[in-house]
């Protein structure tokens, strides 16, 4: 899978440390709940962690996730490193959000403090700005 496959509209990259976070209503479940809001802006959401494909599959099934989870597994953390959010100390990634425009340019990003789930308000604000730009001549 290549990022360029999603060039039709904005792409949201949501890096998170690991599947199976013990918190109820964790970040991915929250995004799952509000996918329709993202789609109103024509945006595609991709979750990324260093977990492998089978782990992602079980996690996505258990949480009934309706968006792809990408395995940043081999070479481990390569995508996270490219975006500067790999945590080499514990071998995971930051909880980091990126909104890319239709040309693949990063237009907004946010790295959440450790252990704090960032929510979705920043993503929606960024998407609204992109939609507003698109509306201009």
């Amino acid at each position: 899978m290549k990022l360029s496959e999603f060039r039709g509209g904005p792409v949201i990259l949501a890096f998170y440390p690991a599947d199976w976070s013990p918190v109820c209503g964790d970040q991915m479940s929250l995004y799952n709940e509000i996918l329709s809001e993202f789609r109103q802006h024509g945006a595609q959401l991709l979750g990324l962690s260093v977990d492998g494909v089978w782990c992602h599959r079980a996690f996505a099934e258990a949480r009934k996730l309706h968006f792809p989870l990408l395995a940043d597994f081999e070479p481990k953390g390569e995508v996270a490193r490219a975006f500067g959010v790999y945590r080499s100390d514990d071998g995971t990634s930051e909880r980091a959000l990126f909104v890319l425009d239709r040309d693949g340019v990063v237009r907004w990003s946010y790295v959440s403090p450790l252990g704090v789930n960032p929510g979705a308000d920043g993503i929606l604000e960024a998407l609204e700005k992109l939609s507003a730009e698109k509306g201009k001549p």
Partner: protein
Amino acid sequence: MSGLTPPVSAADHRSGPDDAPITLVEYGDFECPACGAAYPNVEDVRRKLGARLGFVFRHFPLTQMHPHAMHAAEAAEAASAQGKFWQMYGMLFEHQDALEDADLVRYARTLHLDDKRFASELASDAYVKAIRQSVGSGIRSGVNGTPTFFINGVRYDGSWEAADLLAALEDAAA
């Protein structure tokens, strides 16, 4: 990020005096175990702070994960329409493991609600739009899971243990 939008208004489910110096807002889901675990702590701080605290509950059902959460939220709204939001709120959190439609109607009867009206409002999705608006406001406000609390309009990311919650609320009043 993390400012309560829209602010608390007369449209909210609010308990406590209008001029209370501290306002605690919870975005919650009646089927969420973490919200259920936080419920007695919230009750505890409500008792301890009494008239100094205004408490507001806003719906944030995680419907993909919790199949009964939307109907439970609707049940609270249907009870609210008959003046018994807080009674139903307590009933739902105290019976999180029994939230089938038949259970909800049973709770309505226990609370002496007009159960026919209650059931028909549930069946007609009368409150789904309002609940979705509440979820939308939560997303704007920076809700990041359930429960999410706001103290005087600012998201509270600390622990939900009663002592910690109480200390944070006391700080907000100081």
